[in-house]
Symmetry: C2
Subunit: 383 residues, 2 copies
């Protein structure tokens, strides 16, 4: 594939943006990205979004934003892969530029979730599970993840408090990120004493929803003259079954494993060369399983990386350096683009107190459903 670079990034703070419409939130992040890129127009717009058709009664989201942004006549499309919509839109855009059909693209991940009168957020999130064979049984999306976590604890002998470091690290890192949803340092005690959501997942195992958008402008790498030059050295996508009960081993994220393996091959790097990893910690159990299937820990040992401090910004595998889904927030269809934007910030050295020293290779991994579709991207700083 033709090498693609990231020319500009933009993001809004994740919060309850009741005073802004869906189009203003997505438009704002898009305009920041265009400004950062130094461009007024691009050839095409790719929008990642999960719930606007349900929550806002708005489809045709490509045109919806192109219209607002003044990208008149330009191609514009909406990509949906549940919570993986952001990175899925990014990958579709990469392929479009790589094909030569367009020379520049703007990718926006956007979601507005907090003030939707009459919308049941839990029901909307359940659209990421199998409607016929999971949701129909009455299980919620967090319920599915709770079953996976319970099985993991049983199988490998971990107790609930062992997951605390994932949440503590995420919250600590978000303190230095002005775009994060939560700015609240927590302790093991906060983690252990919080309200239960679906046993054993409690409030601090789970990521908060929010309103927000993140965006990037991509062009062929050779067109980029600014320093540092950030390029996409691998993009890959893989799937697993949609229903968790169809999997031979529900504790192995096959989609993560496949997409990470392909990404490493394409970029020609090993896991130990990754300087920073923005993973999909929708729940603490997902952080553990993602670390394992991405090659950073043995089966059942992902939790150990947290306990041993390896996931901290100065650890062996820094994760959630801007707060992760847990504390930066998880505006579902936007999350994948926040991860891309944050990796770019790390490679540019813009992360202040959570800057990973000498970060040159970053991994972003976005998951849709309970590990059902996985997008893995490797970004590198070219010197």
């Amino acid at each position: 594939m033709r090498k693609i670079g990231i020319l500009g990034i933009g993001q809004t703070r994740i919060e309850e943006q009741w005073d802004k419409s869906l189009r203003e939130i997505g438009g704002e992040a898009a305009l920041y990205a265009l400004q950062d890129a130094g461009l007024e127009k691009v050839d095409a717009l790719f929008v990642g979004n999960m719930i606007a058709p349900i929550a806002d009664g708005q489809n045709l989201l490509g045109v919806y934003f192109a219209d607002w942004l003044g990208l008149w006549k330009k191609e514009a499309i909406h990509i949906e892969a549940a919570c993986g919509s952001g990175a899925a839109a990014f990958r579709a855009a990469l392929m479009a530029v790589a094909s030569g059909e367009v020379d520049s693209a703007l990718v926006v991940g956007v979601e507005k979730m907090t003030d939707r009168a009459g919308m049941d957020v839990t029901a909307s999130l359940a659209t990421a599970a199998d409607a016929d064979y999971e949701v129909e049984q009455g299980i919620s999306f967090v319920g599915i993840n709770a079953l996976i976590m319970r099985r993991y604890m049983h199988e490998f002998g971990w107790k609930h408090a062992d997951f605390a470091p994932f949440s503590i690290n995420a919250h600590a890192n978000a303190m230095g990120n002005p775009f994060a949803r939560l700015h609240q340092r927590i302790t093991t005690e906060t983690f252990e004493k919080s309200s239960m959501v679906a046993t054993p997942i409690n409030l601090f195992d789970a990521s908060p929803i929010g309103d927000g958008a993140a965006a990037a402008v991509i062009v062929p790498a050779e067109r980029i003259t600014k320093h540092p030059k950030i390029v996409v050295s691998a993009s890959s996508a893989a799937t697993d079954t949609i229903a968790v009960h169809s999997r031979k081993d529900p504790l192995h994220l096959q989609g993560v494993y496949q997409s990470a393996k392909r990404a490493y091959q394409t970029a020609g790097v090993d896991p130990d060369e990754i300087d920073v990893f923005e993973l999909h910690d929708a729940f603490t159990i997902m952080a553990a399983l993602s670390l394992e299937a991405s090659g950073f820990a043995e089966r059942g040992q992902g939790v150990r990386l947290g306990l041993e401090g390896e996931i901290l910004p100065n650890g062996r595998v820094p994760i959630c350096t801007r707060g992760g889904l847990k504390a930066r927030g998880h505006p579902v269809g936007a999350t994948g683009m926040y991860q891309i934007v944050e990796i770019v910030q790390q490679l540019r050295g813009e992360c202040g107190s959570t800057q990973v020293d000498g970060a040159a290779i970053g991994l972003a991994q976005n998951i849709g459903g309970s590990g059902a579709t996985v997008l893995t991207h490797i970004l590198q700083k070219e010197t």
Copy 2:
């Protein structure tokens, strides 16, 4: 862009398929396409769908179908562009194969609309309009098109009966298509005496919804050995404003004009070289406006092509040769793929009584919203 060919096609009949689930309908068309292509697997799946997230509470439609089809581990994605979703998914797949990221792709356009208890079809279709500035005012999607048609009749002096040939041609052509929703020959009298939907659009100006799916398998053209070899000689997408009231001239489909113009340039053909044109006749007025903006008639004169018999299978610009949206049916997100499949059938010479003699170059044009996003594809038979 690397030249892409169509290796296989499949479709289901459009009807009220109450005995089949969404996944069975889409899966069936997909399996027919794989069988026609002589392949068991492809590298990636692209799904075009508009209303399943609303109607079925099912997102993550890429994985949903990949799982059912046994495309385990494969990349799978859902593209939404309202009624243009089918061709938008086709274009995304073309760019994926052209980029070299995947070597083969399956594209499925699918929709299940007729037995969705509790779903308001009119409200679902209105998600293709601007939720804030059109729908909020109480107008329906057909209402928007009715305003355009009324203005057109006023501006150019046409009367309602002048639109009858579009509907009569579509219904006559569907008689020979076993996959069509309606098999009912109509006359000018039927057309004129039918129930009013939104003045001046009556039942025979409007296309019927339905349950159905159409699919195609695409690969790099050089890999195709079968005859006739069908290649995609142009793919283009363009947008207009989402709300019709924002347009300088609501009677000129700017998106159609732009995307058709680019497609002609890419393929190196003129409108008069097009042998068959599957256009987006969601309403008779859209057929007239599409003919005009695509270069087959002057502004305000699209209706004349119908009156003069030019749109018939043996006319100068044969349209809706398999029944069009009007009589083949309009399962919204599937329609774009039905058009692609039908053009392939014409180029293969499989259309029986409505076969266009010597058809070698076909145009397929799919619209999302009221002309808001337009996908134009030119397919050619290589000899």
